[in-house]
Symmetry: C2
Subunit: 428 residues, 2 copies
């Protein structure tokens, strides 16, 4: 088997932690696997380097910032290679550039456009464990060093797994998998043993922080099975992969065939809502508004437009966006008030988004009704609604978020005491 393992910064926080990771890597190699390891910078290294940069320059040039920050993964990669060598195995560390991770030239947020893993496969052929510095690559045009954006070592790992034809990719982190809800809000939340790419994508987009959105997109596109698990235990974590159809004739799966309708409940509280009141109900007005906002690179999430009031020919448009972009969006829209002729602008950052996600809702009607009545029973008022084929999201008041998450979690039978609701085909 060929395995790619990724260890995050908390797994390599100091020399002792690096030695622990080395043991785990060596154990995998001793099982006879080819092992490629993608590594993040140690603990707070990236933040410390960023602080140092800001002490030298308030606005460091992105090219130079990439040059600086990539030193972090380079150091942890070399140290892990040393720790593995100290346990008697051959190891070779490679920078993103040496590993053939070719990216766009957008410093600080580059995208992988190709992987030429010649040096990796050569080292594997020579029976080496290969350690690749995560989060970094080399720009195709300029040959300058790039970074893929914070947390993107996961993406490096999945992309390498795809390029190397690995059997699976293990993402080691400081939690033991993906949960049905945030355990800090729902103490009865359970680890999800297996989840499909599509569900994981919706969960990640709706606030589940364990896996980076771009990493899940990559895994889905390339069909790379991903195992999210804890580097502090040997327990199984969460498998993200194509869901295996349940075989009802398998006695092992007897009594476990009930597929959960909902895989998990995600939430986030980092968005704000803007409502544009009294927009003339004419073709093209909405386009003008969102073009203006889009021009500022603001990432709009949900959009709702009310039915126009016939007597006034005016409508209200609401949308959500990151709170950090609120001021910019308000300024852009205020500048447009006269030309568009809307009557008012409302801003609300005391909101939260609660989402239920599950492929089961494709085949189970009534999920929306069940979700909304659970919210009603918990006395939660719904502000906005948005849905996909496998997700229902609602915007609620910020103070209602925890209550809404818990109510949905219970309503869909996800609480840990209900033993029947586990996935079929788990336990591997």
């Amino acid at each position: 088997m060929r395995v790619v393992q990724k260890y995050g910064g908390s797994s390599v926080a100091d020399a002792e932690a690096i030695k622990r990771v080395a043991k785990r890597v060596v154990a995998t190699k001793q099982q006879g696997h080819d092992v490629v390891v993608v590594i993040s910078a140690m603990g707070d290294t990236t933040d410390e380097l960023m602080d140092l940069a800001l002490r030298v320059s308030p606005q460091p040039p992105p090219r130079e910032l990439d040059m600086l920050l990539t030193a972090g993964e380079r150091m942890s990669a070399a140290l892990l290679a040393m720790a593995i060598a100290d346990q008697g195995m051959h190891a070779r560390s490679l920078t993103g550039s040496q590993a053939g991770i070719i990216t766009t030239g957008t410093h600080g947020n580059a995208r992988i456009i190709d992987i030429t893993p010649g040096r990796i496969t050569k080292a594997l052929d020579e029976d080496h464990i290969v350690i690749v510095a995560g989060f970094q690559g080399v720009a195709q045009d300029t040959k300058d060093v790039t970074t893929l954006g914070r947390g993107a070592s996961d993406t490096t790992a999945v992309a390498l797994a795809a390029s190397l034809g690995a059997d699976y990719c293990e993402i080691y982190t400081d939690v033991d998998g993906i949960y049905t809800a945030d355990p800090r809000i729902v103490p009865s939340a359970q680890r999800i043993p297996e989840i499909s790419y599509e569900e994981m994508l919706e969960m990640a987009a709706c606030g589940a922080k364990i896996l980076h959105l771009r990493c899940v997109e990559y895994a889905r596109r390339e069909r790379v099975p991903v195992h999210v698990r804890s580097s502090f235990s040997h327990l199984p974590g969460t498998w993200v992969r194509d869901r295996v159809p349940v075989d009802p004739s398998d006695p092992q799966e007897g009594g476990m065939v009930e597929q959960a309708i909902i895989s998990g409940v995600a939430h986030e509280t980092k968005e704000a809502k803007i409502t544009i009141v009294g927009v003339p109900d004419q073709i093209g007005e909405a386009a003008r508004i969102f073009e203006a906002v889009a021009a500022t690179d603001i990432n709009i999430d949900m959009i709702v437009q009310n039915v126009s009031a016939v007597q006034t020919s005016r409508t209200d448009i609401s949308f959500t966006l990151p709170k950090t972009d609120g001021a910019t969006a308000i300024a852009v829209l205020n500048a447009l008030q006269e030309s568009i002729g809307f009557t008012d602008l409302l801003y609300d950052d005391q909101i939260g988004k609660v989402s239920v996600v599950g492929v089961g809702m494709r085949s189970h009607p009534g999920v929306t009704a069940k979700f909304f009545s659970a919210l009603a029973a918990a006395n939660v008022n719904i502000g906005m609604i948005s849905t996909s084929e496998i997700r229902i999201s609602v915007v609620v008041g910020q103070d209602d978020v925890a209550r809404a998450v818990a109510a949905a979690h219970t309503a869909f039978g996800l609480d840990a005491t209900e033993q029947a609701v586990v996935y079929a085909g788990t336990g591997r």
Copy 2:
């Protein structure tokens, strides 16, 4: 003009120091020069990284150690580029590999074998200040990252100056030049305004620590003028270059035409002396001894063989070597005692070496006599003697070193109060 500047670790110890260096670099650029900067790692970074490596593995593989340590210069290079950009000038940092510094594959102690500075000249053509990470390169065969050995950023700077056809190379450090003797031993020691490559080479080989031996060799071979000066002042330092012949008709140099016979007095106390007593005086015995020692990679310095005592046909051979290699050499020689048939082996690590260096001794007879009588007057006993065309070295007891240095310094008129003894052609 095209200038290469090198700043050592103490010049970039923290964010404030980096900003100070940036100001100096920008000022040079504003004078209209092309500027390439070679930078060391910040302060104690290299030592800290080495400590970290040893906490992970007692014997880190050299390839991985190079991967780790090179992060230090990468960080300081990026930070300096940021600080320069913050002062409104374009700057681009390059790793040794990006700068085209091609080396042998000897990790930890690689040698530069070629420089392909295409990315540097391109950046200079685009009016950028170029910052190159010192001390590092890329192995020609494996494309792995290499280091040139401790203190070798000076060599990087001189090699780049030669390759780029720079007019001169400035080495910024925490002292203001090369002194006629170590000022801690001889308080009246003076800064040497100008010194030839050959003299500097002898000084460096005999214990003057400011410039790396390999850097001086490179500068001499490529005829690169080197200016060693302090990054904490704007005073002139020491120029290492081909000595300009004095023009006696130049009135500016009237009264200063007396060339010093001796440029400086160097010393070191890191060597030990081994004496092999009663070696059979036959052809090939000395060769066998030194072949055996050389096979262990020990760097032998001075060798003295006494005239053989006719009645015994036996001779004594003494040599000096680094104290750190003493035990190895003794073990090797003990193993040879029977086959060679020498009678005894003596080891003395309480010695020191004192050298007087100066091209003036070529044309001035009597330098040896003057040196030895100064030592005799200071009651210093001479153990071994070795000479080159422009150097006389003696081995003395360790406790006599300071007294011997001071006596020679005074005897050759180098003390600061003697105004007449300064170099002709200085003051630039």
